[in-house]
C-alpha cells in the first residue's frame, strides 16, 4: 500500500469531474490511500472532489493557474505533506509540464501517456502504448530513483465506467488543506521577471462529450468537403464526439481541437467512425487503439481500410445519412 497523490492542474468550471478525471481517482484507489492536489481554489475543490475515498485535498492559498510556475511549488509541497509514493495526473499538456518540472526537483522518473498503473511487489508498474500504439511497454522506477515517488500521466478511457463507479462514493465532504505557496513567484530555479498573460480566450466548449473521453468518435477528413452536417447528425444519434483529420482542421472547416492524430489528440474509444479520411500514418497514430473502427471512403485503396473492422467503399454523403435513418428506425 502506498499513498497516491492525484494532481488536477485545474478543475472543470461546472464543478463536476469528467469521466477521465474520475478514472484517475479510481486508479489511485487501486494503489492505496488517495490524496489530491489542485491549483483550483479551495471552494472549487470542495465542490468537485466530494468523494469519501479521498483522505485529503491540498490547494494553494488561492487559485494557481498554468503557466504560473507556482503550480510546481504547490505540487512539491503537497508531495512532502502527503508522503506520496505515486503522483497521478491527466495526460494533458499543462499537467505534463508541471509533473515534468516536479520530476526534476524530486530527481525522479516520469511516465506520460500510461493506460494502467498497478503495484507489483514493492514496485509501481505502468503500462503504456508506444510507437503509435504498435507496442505496449511496462516500466517502473530504476534503482537510481529508488524510494522516490513515481510520476505518471494516464490517458482517459483506460478503466471502464463500472469499475470507476464501484471505486468511488460521491456525496462526501472532503477535508481541504490550504498550503502556503507564493503564487506568482515561481520559486525553485525560475528566471528573473515574469511571464505575463496579455490575453486569454476560452475555447468554445461543445455540448458533446469530450473527444478524448468519448465512447464513440465520428471523424471526418478532406472528403467531407467542408460540410460536417451529416457527421454531426450521426454523432447526435450515437452520443459521439466529433473528430477530424488535419486536412479538415487546416482547411478551417472545424476547430483545431478536433484534430485526431500525432499532433492532435489520441483517442481510444469503443467505436471510431472514419469518414472521408485516407488514413495517413499521422492520423492512424491517434486512433488505432480504438476498439472498433468503421471506415467509409470512396477509394478502395485508401490505407484506412487496412485497419478497419468494417469498411465501406462508398460516398459518405450517401452512406452516413442512411446510417442515421436506420439508427432512428431501430430506436423506433
Amino acid at each position: 500500500m502506498t499513498t497516491a497523490l492525484v494532481f488536477f492542474d485545474s478543475l472543470p468550471a461546472d464543478g463536476s469531474l469528467s469521466a477521465g478525471q474520475k478514472e484517475l481517482l479510481a486508479a489511485a484507489r487501486g494503489l492505496g490511500e488517495v490524496t489530491v492536489v489542485t491549483g483550483a481554489s479551495g471552494e472549487a475543490a470542495a465542490q468537485a472532489l466530494d468523494f469519501a475515498e479521498i483522505s485529503t485535498v491540498y490547494t494553494g492559498d488561492g487559485e494557481i493557474a498554468a503557466p504560473d510556475a507556482a503550480l510546481v511549488d504547490l505540487l512539491e509541497t503537497a508531495v512532502q505533506e502527503s508522503g506520496a509514493g505515486v503522483v497521478l495526473g491527466s495526460d494533458v499538456s499543462e499537467t505534463t509540464d508541471a509533473l515534468a518540472r516536479l520530476a526534476v526537483r524530486l530527481d525522479t522518473g516520469l511516465i506520460t501517456g500510461g493506460i494502467a498503473v498497478e503495484t507489483s511487489g514493492e514496485q509501481v508498474v505502468v503500462t503504456k502504448p508506444v510507437l503509435a500504439g504498435t507496442y505496449t511497454t511496462t516500466a517502473s522506477l530504476a534503482d537510481a530513483a529508488a524510494g522516490r515517488p513515481l510520476l505518471v500521466t494516464l490517458r482517459p478511457n483506460s478503466i471502464d465506467a463500472e469499475q470507476v463507479a464501484a471505486a468511488l462514493s460521491p456525496g462526501a465532504e472532503p477535508e481541504v488543506t490550504g498550503l502556503p505557496v507564493n503564487a506568482g513567484l515561481g520559486g525553485g530555479a525560475a528566471a528573473e521577471g515574469q511571464i505575463e498573460i496579455l490575453e486569454r480566450t476560452e475555447l468554445e466548449k461543445s455540448e458533446r462529450p469530450s473527444l478524448t473521453e468519448a465512447r464513440v468518435v465520428v471523424a471526418g477528413g478532406r472528403g467531407v468537403e467542408g460540410d460536417f452536417g451529416p457527421l454531426e447528425e450521426l454523432a447526435d444519434e450515437l452520443g459521439a464526439a466529433i473528430g477530424a483529420s488535419r486536412a479538415a482542421t487546416d482547411a478551417g472547416w472545424i476547430d483545431h481541437a478536433a484534430q485526431v492524430g500525432q499532433t492532435g489528440v489520441t483517442v481510444s474509444p469503443q467505436l471510431y467512425v472514419s469518414a472521408g479520411i485516407s488514413g495517413a500514418v499521422q492520423q492512424r497514430s491517434g486512433m488505432q487503439t480504438s476498439q472498433t473502427i468503421v471506415a467509409i471512403n470512396k477509394d478502395e485503396d485508401a490505407p484506412v481500410f487496412e485497419i478497419a473492422d468494417f469498411g465501406v467503399v462508398g460516398d459518405l454523403f450517401e452512406v452516413i445519412p442512411q446510417m442515421v435513418e436506420e439508427i432512428r428506425r431501430r430506436k423506433g
Partner: protein, 274 residues
C-alpha cells in the same frame, strides 16, 4: 535607438526512426535506432528560429543540438542544410536508453557548453526552441524539464511566436485538466519554448543550402566534453517489457450497393457498440 542585444537560439532536434517505416524494439527492450531521420516535428522550431533570425535587427545565431548515437549526426547535418549556423552532436555510451530525465540533463549540460563557447558578446540572450514532441518518445516532457534545469521561463505548445527587443510574444493553447483556452503571453529571456506544427511551414533545403551546409561547423561531443558525470545522466526508469501489439488487420470491406448504411448499423448492432 539602443542597440538590441544579440540572441543565441539553440534548437534541440532528435534523430528518430522514420514513422512511415516499420518501427520496432530490440531484445534489450529499446527502440531500434539503427536508422532514422531528423524528427519532422523538430523542423518547426528550426523554421521558427530562422524566421526570428531573418526578422531581427540584432545579431542572431542559430545552433542545432542533437543527442543520439553515431547516426544522429545525419539529423545535425540536415539541420545545417535547413539553415542552422552550426550544429552539435552529443553521443555517449552512457546515454543509451536515456529517459526524459537523462535526456534533459544531458541537453542542459550541452546548452551550457554551447553558450560557454559562443562567439556572441557577453550580454547575448538565450532562447531554446524545441519541438512539441519527439516522434519516438512522444512525451513532450523534455522542454519543461530543460527549462526547470536551466532556470529559464517555459512556454509550451506555441502556435505563434515573435521576438522583439529581447522580449518574446507567444500564442499558445493551454490544455489543462479542467479547461482549455488560448493564451497570448509575453516573457523575457532566457526561455525554453516548444513549437507546434501549427506555427509555420518549414522550408526545404535547396541545392545551394545543401552545398553551403558542408562548410558549416559540426562539433561532436562526449559527456566529458560537456562536463557531465555519467551518474548525472542516469535513467530514472527501467523498462520491464516491450511487446508488439498484434497488428490491426482489415476486417470486412464491402462496396456500397445502396444499402451500406444499413449494413454498417447491422454490424454495429452485432458488435454491441450501438
Amino acid at each position: 535607438m539602443p542597440h538590441a542585444a544579440a540572441v543565441h537560439i539553440i534548437v534541440p532536434v532528435k534523430w528518430v526512426p522514420d514513422a512511415q517505416l516499420e518501427r520496432r524494439f530490440t531484445e534489450q527492450r529499446r527502440i531500434d535506432r539503427s536508422e532514422g531521420i531528423l524528427g519532422e516535428l523538430d523542423e518547426y522550431p528550426l523554421e521558427a528560429a530562422l524566421q526570428i533570425k531573418e526578422a531581427a535587427e540584432a545579431e542572431v545565431r542559430v545552433s542545432a543540438l542533437t543527442i543520439g548515437p553515431d547516426g544522429a549526426s545525419t539529423a545535425a547535418k540536415k539541420a545545417l542544410q535547413i539553415g542552422a549556423d552550426d550544429a552539435f552532436h552529443l553521443s555517449d555510451e552512457a546515454l543509451t536508453g536515456a529517459d526524459v530525465s537523462a535526456t534533459s540533463a544531458a541537453l542542459k549540460a550541452a546548452v551550457e557548453q554551447i553558450l560557454a563557447g559562443s562567439e556572441l558578446d557577453g550580454d547575448a540572450q538565450t532562447l531554446v526552441l524545441t519541438g512539441m514532441s519527439s516522434e519516438d518518445g512522444e512525451s513532450g516532457a523534455v522542454p519543461a524539464q530543460l527549462a526547470e534545469r536551466l532556470g529559464a521561463h517555459l512556454i509550451t505548445q506555441v502556435t505563434e511566436l515573435s521576438l522583439e527587443e529581447g522580449r518574446l510574444t507567444a500564442t499558445r493553447v493551454s490544455t489543462g485538466s479542467g479547461h482549455s483556452e488560448q493564451q497570448k503571453l509575453a516573457a523575457p529571456l532566457p526561455a525554453v519554448v516548444s513549437v507546434t506544427d501549427q506555427a509555420n511551414d518549414p522550408r526545404y533545403p535547396n541545392f545551394k543550402a545543401i552545398m553551403a551546409a558542408k562548410k558549416k561547423p559540426l562539433t561532436t561531443w562526449q559527456l566529458s566534453d560537456v562536463a557531465l558525470e555519467p551518474a548525472a545522466a542516469e535513467a530514472k526508469l527501467q523498462v520491464h517489457s516491450a511487446e508488439a501489439r498484434p497488428p490491426r488487420t482489415a476486417g470486412e470491406i464491402i462496396t456500397d450497393e445502396g444499402d451500406a448504411g444499413v449494413k454498417i448499423v447491422e454490424f454495429l448492432a452485432k458488435e454491441r457498440v450501438l
